[in-house]
């Protein structure tokens, strides 16, 4: 197979509040003020400039200016791009709100690195391209897990092999009980495509396949609202991060077309319970900045995207001290979830009152967006730091904006500090 030539020039625009820019221009806007550095979990572990957001920006700049060659420095560049969690804390700290996760993704794409184990990538890609096959395969994997295959691999020590470590991690975080949103809807007799609907719902991967509790909470929340149409289709986020950019754009275009068709002139809002998808959908105008035909539609669409915290207003309820202390984990991916985090904080403050602890995990993030599969020791270290933080403050409940972050944190808590548990924020909102 012919090797793809490395090039950082791409028609794709990236950008923050200041507007869409090309990669080179966006990187040029880094003033090297270093405001981002202490917010980067990867830098805090390595303590070297190359592993800081400022350093990564400068590497991309040097590559774009052709002052260094990727072929001469592959191991280091590969490592600094691999260790970026795409957590967007640097963007939140940056004076110019530069989308540094996008910079790193552009470099990964240009170099052809996805850092996701091949079989896992192929399997997850099926979710977007062939949902039927994906579901059948998933059922097979679950059956094998129930039959004890993963356990066997674990005790045989095979899961310690670097290539198979992701299986061990997936086994740690994914709940044992099999779950499917489609079957749940069927069981409860809910029509996923009602004639009259006031909203479209794009479920998260966790709600669809992984976490039954989260799915039940979403359904409870939706039942209390007007009827909505389930959009069982990919957003393009997975391909945007790990795969083919063209495929990602095609999936995003498909989503825009379906929305246009279903929502019609009423321009129905689109709800999601995945903070990662929410950030990505909100970013559609920048994604389509280089495609004028789609840009306007993307803008109209992005204005209608809602996260679950937008739905339920905070309801003051009495909380007893026995419920223990509660905190919010704002881990997200690609773009900082500042507004959503503020809303979630308000909801939790109203419900828990003084039991709510203002506890931003200032130094470490809970891995979100499935990145734990790619980081090995670093993932364990960051997870452990979070557990320490929870234990030190004697928190008993952590609410996360990201479903995957909740699963990750829960797995670490179960192991090191079982007094506390982590849940998705929707589970708090939909409590009876």
């Amino acid at each position: 197979m012919k090797k793809k030539k490395f090039s950082l020039s791409s028609p794709l625009r990236i950008g923050g509040p200041a507007g869409a820019r090309s990669l080179k221009e966006s990187v040029d806007y880094c003033t090297r003020c270093n405001a981002c550095v202490q917010s980067c979990p990867s830098y805090l572990l390595h303590r070297e400039e190359a592993y800081s957001p400022r350093g990564r920006n400068q590497i991309i700049r040097l590559l774009a200016e052709r002052k260094i060659k990727i072929s001469d420095n592959t191991p280091l560049i590969q490592d600094v791009t691999r260790t970026c969690l795409l957590c967007a804390r640097c963007t939140a700290a940056c004076a110019g709100a530069l989308p540094m996760a996008d910079h790193v993704l552009a470099l990964r794409r240009a170099a052809g690195w996805s850092f996701l184990p091949g079989p896992l990538k192929m399997f997850l890609r099926l979710h977007g391209t062939r949902p039927g096959t994906f579901e059948r395969l998933l059922s097979l994997l679950r059956l094998l897990r129930r039959l004890g295959l993963v356990h066997l691999l674990r005790i045989s020590g095979l899961l310690r092999l670097p290539a198979l470590q992701w299986i061990r991690h997936a086994d740690n975080i994914v709940p044992r009980r099999a779950h499917s949103l489609r079957k749940m809807l069927k069981k409860q007799g809910i029509n996923p495509h009602p004639e009259e609907a006031d909203m479209l719902y794009l479920p998260s991967f966790e709600t669809q396949y992984l976490n039954a509790e989260q799915a039940r909470a979403v359904l409870r929340l939706l039942n209390s609202k007007s009827p909505c149409i389930l959009l069982n289709m990919p957003s393009g986020l997975f391909e945007y991060i790990y795969g083919d950019l063209a495929l990602s754009l095609a999936q995003a275009k498909q989503l825009l077309t379906v929305w246009n068709k279903l929502a019609g002139k009423r321009k129905l809002p689109v709800l999601t319970d995945s903070i990662e998808i929410y950030g990505f959908l909100k970013h559609f105008p920048v994604l389509f900045a280089a495609y004028p035909a789609w840009h306007k539609r993307a803008e109209a669409f992005a204005a209608k995207v809602l996260f679950v915290t937008d739905l339920a207003p905070a309801r003051p309820t009495k909380t007893s001290a026995s419920e223990g202390l509660c905190a919010l984990d704002t881990s997200s991916i690609l773009y900082p979830a500042n507004d959503t985090a503020a809303k979630a904080r308000k909801i939790l403050k109203t419900h828990f009152g003084k039991n709510f602890v203002e506890c931003e995990y200032s130094r470490f993030v809970t891995p979100a967006g499935g990145l734990a599969f790619v980081r090995g020791a670093q993932a364990q270290e960051t997870a452990l730091e979070n557990v320490k933080d929870v234990a030190r403050r004697q928190i008993t409940q952590v609410y996360c904006l990201s479903g995957l972050a909740a699963l990750e944190l829960n797995a670490a808590l179960r192991r090191h500090y079982p007094q506390a548990r982590a849940r998705h924020i929707v589970q708090m909102q939909a409590e009876p």
Partner: protein, 666 residues
């Protein structure tokens, strides 16, 4: 220069192979900071343990390899660019807080503890660390001290140097010293503060921590002119009301910030002040009333107090977003830094605006009104060479304007390589020569952060000293004569401390004039031979006071040279000295902040006449009565250490200035 494989091997053996980086990316990434300077080192050494610093510096000194200490690299002056190559020392892993003692009020830390981390650790204990540079969330304590970056609160709580109790210091030859402000002999710690790593490395710090104020109240006042806003600040200080901080911006900046951050600032105001008071609620209420009266009497348009924490946060939002507002406009932001006497601020800022317009650049203008320190933030595109040239010219002219108004080219950002050239505009040839001698005494091989601070070829560019006081000139002539004839001298004031019986006493008695009591800037200028008692009575007559010990019978120069009143040392902002070779050296002035060059005020405090003869001092005065109860400390004898010996050899190679305090009278 290139580092030989043998030395690299030794470095790897010392620090571990993974901590010595020589790949082109690591070299490129460790050659810049927040300024436009970029210089590649030859290697990067990451240090994980403070115990390795000494052997590392010894190795580099032995091999004559230049080194540049690098912490967070947030400075705007190019202070950590490896101009002559060599090794960049990445000290970032040294960030442990060893101890926080709230009873004695200090924190003990490794050098690269992030200032924000220290504040976070202190907050739950009800304490805080006073200096607050704008970059405190990411900048490190040793970096702050090396640049003497102090932030907005320095008007009330003093600068970073004043808030540091002691440091462990490694000289460029690898020798470790423990330096304190109050130790006998010159105030080495005060000299190291602001030296930008050119005199050595900081290994460990003890800093002062203070109980956090129980209440903080924030006010926003808008004024029809810059002059009236600055006058308000002067009036505040005159009334003895020292705010926690006074932040200010002009109309152009207010508009840009308001459009960006929507903080609720009135866009039509010519000047805007954010004033913060702290303390107990009773005093704050009283002070708030006084503050409002003063603002109104100076014709303020609006005066608003933040009633809730949310309102306070909103008022600060605009000020904090000022950099972001500019950063969104263009790829690059050049942040300038200059300080002028407070009274000159309105005229200087008007002049700076003219320079900005003349050079055709876009800039915001923020200033710490209490200190006379301002920061123009100029946006530009470094890819456009014409724009970059215009910005460089604008910055250069702004700094020259500062000097013209009796100011300094750096209040807190340091000199580095970016402002080296303008140092020749500020300082005389003699002063710059003294800076060079200090550098040479500490670092004869020019290894520690070379090519910083001192301008190249200053002998031609800098002007000679322009002192015209006949008494000073007569003394300088006499000292020159003694230097030529190799006649020793014992410098005295009224000889009350030294009690010298030597034959060649050189007395500062002819220097008996109080030159100025400036009640706009609240500064006084007096010659060294003035009796402290006389000075206090004169100040009293003029309705002012200074932090001087009432029971001291000697002269002002004697008080400073013998370090008899530790509290007064931090009040000195300017000094004039005659060196043993007869050169007259001037440093500082009526400036609240000065980070340009080595702090000569601190060098000659406690030097007991062994390094030079103090002739003139500029110091802070107050409108309210000060506590004079502290007894002056008797002159302590000082056993010269290697630092002192090296400096003495540079300044006075023939050993002509003899001091009984150092056991060298005979």
């Amino acid at each position: 220069m290139r580092i030989s494989p043998r030395v690299l091997k030794e470095l790897r053996r010392l620090l571990g192979p993974e901590n010595i980086l020589t790949d082109e990316i690591s070299l490129a990434l460790n050659g810049y900071d927040c300024s436009q300077s970029r210089h590649r080192p030859d290697a990067v050494a990451t240090v994980h343990n403070t115990a390795l610093l000494e052997p590392l510096v010894c190795l580099l000194a032995r091999e004559k390899i230049p080194f540049v200490p690098r912490a967070a690299a947030t400075n705007h002056a190019g202070s950590c660019a490896a101009v002559q190559g060599g090794v960049v020392l990445n000290l970032n892993p040294l960030d442990q807080i060893y101890q926080i003692d709230t009873t004695c009020g200090f924190a003990d830390m490794a050098p690269c503890t992030v200032t924000g981390d220290l504040q976070n650790a202190l907050a739950p204990l009800g304490f805080f660390y006073a200096p607050d540079p704008a970059s405190e969330k990411v900048s490190t304590l040793s970096g702050n001290l090396a640049q003497n970056a102090s932030g907005a609160r320095c008007l009330k709580y003093g600068n970073t140097s004043d808030n540091t109790i002691s440091i462990e210091f490694i000289s460029p030859s690898g020798e470790t010293f423990v330096l304190r402000h109050d130790a006998p002999g010159p105030d080495w710690l005060g000299l190291i503060a602001g030296s930008e790593g050119t005199l050595g490395l900081i290994k460990r710090l003890h800093v002062k921590i203070l109980p956090a104020p129980k209440h903080i109240k924030t006010f926003l006042a808008t004024f029809p002119s810059l002059a009236s806003s600055v006058q308000t600040v002067s009036d505040l200080v005159a009334r003895g009301l020292i705010p926690r901080c006074v932040e200010a911006m002009d109309q152009t900046t207010t508009r840009a910030v308001e459009d960006f951050a929507h903080a609720g600032y009135p866009k039509d105001a010519q000047a805007l002040l954010i004033i913060e008071l702290d303390g107990d609620i009773k005093h704050i209420k009283q002070d708030a009333q006084t503050l409002e009266e003063l603002c109104r009497s100076n014709g303020c348009d609006t005066f608003t107090a933040a009633r809730t924490e949310a309102e306070r946060e909103k008022l600060w939002r605009g000020r904090r977003a000022a950099y972001s507002a500019m950063a969104a406009l263009a790829p690059n932001v050049a942040v300038g830094d200059g300080t002028v006497p407070r009274s000159e601020l309105p005229r200087a800022l008007a002049e700076v605006r003219k320079v900005i317009d003349r050079c055709g650049v876009t800039a915001s203008l923020l200033f710490h009104a209490g200190d006379g320190n301002f920061h123009p933030q100029i946006v530009f595109d470094a890819r456009n060479s014409d724009q970059t040239r215009r910005v460089s010219r604008a910055l250069h002219e702004i700094l020259k304007t500062c000097v013209r108004f009796g100011g300094t080219v750096s209040g807190e950002h340091g000199i580095g390589v970016e402002k080296r050239a303008v140092m020749a505009c500020q300082y005389s040839r003699e002063t710059l020569r003294l800076f060079q001698k200090i550098k040479h005494a500490f670092d004869p091989d020019n290894l520690a952060n070379p090519s910083k601070i001192i301008p190249i070829g200053f002998e031609e560019k800098a002007a000679p000293s322009t002192e015209n006081d006949p008494a000073v000139l007569a003394l300088a002539t006499e000292i020159k004569h003694r230097f030529a004839q190799k006649i020793p001298s014992v410098i005295t004031g009224s000889n009350s401390q030294l009690k010298s019986t030597a034959a060649h006493i050189l007395s500062a008695a002819p220097l008996h004039r109080i030159l100025e009591i400036d009640k706009t800037n609240y500064m006084a200028v007096a010659q060294a031979g003035v009796k402290v008692q006389d000075l206090l009575s004169e100040l009293k007559m003029q309705g002012a006071d200074a932090k001087l010990p009432k029971s001291y019978t000697g002269t002002l120069g004697g008080l400073v040279a013998s370090k008899a009143a530790a509290e007064f040392i931090s009040q000195i902002t300017g000094i004039q000295v005659i060196l043993p070779d007869g050169d007259i050296v001037d440093y500082g002035g009526k400036l609240m902040k000065n980070a340009a060059g080595y702090n000569l005020c601190r060098l000659f405090c406690g030097s007991a006449g062994a390094l030079g003869m103090i002739t003139k001092l500029t110091f802070k005065i107050y409108a309210t009565a000060q506590d004079h109860a502290a007894k002056p400390r008797p002159l302590l004898s000082f056993t010269p250490d290697n630092l002192f010996r090296a400096l003495k050899k540079e300044l006075d190679p023939q050993g002509l200035f003899r001091s009984p305090a150092f056991g060298e009278e005979k």
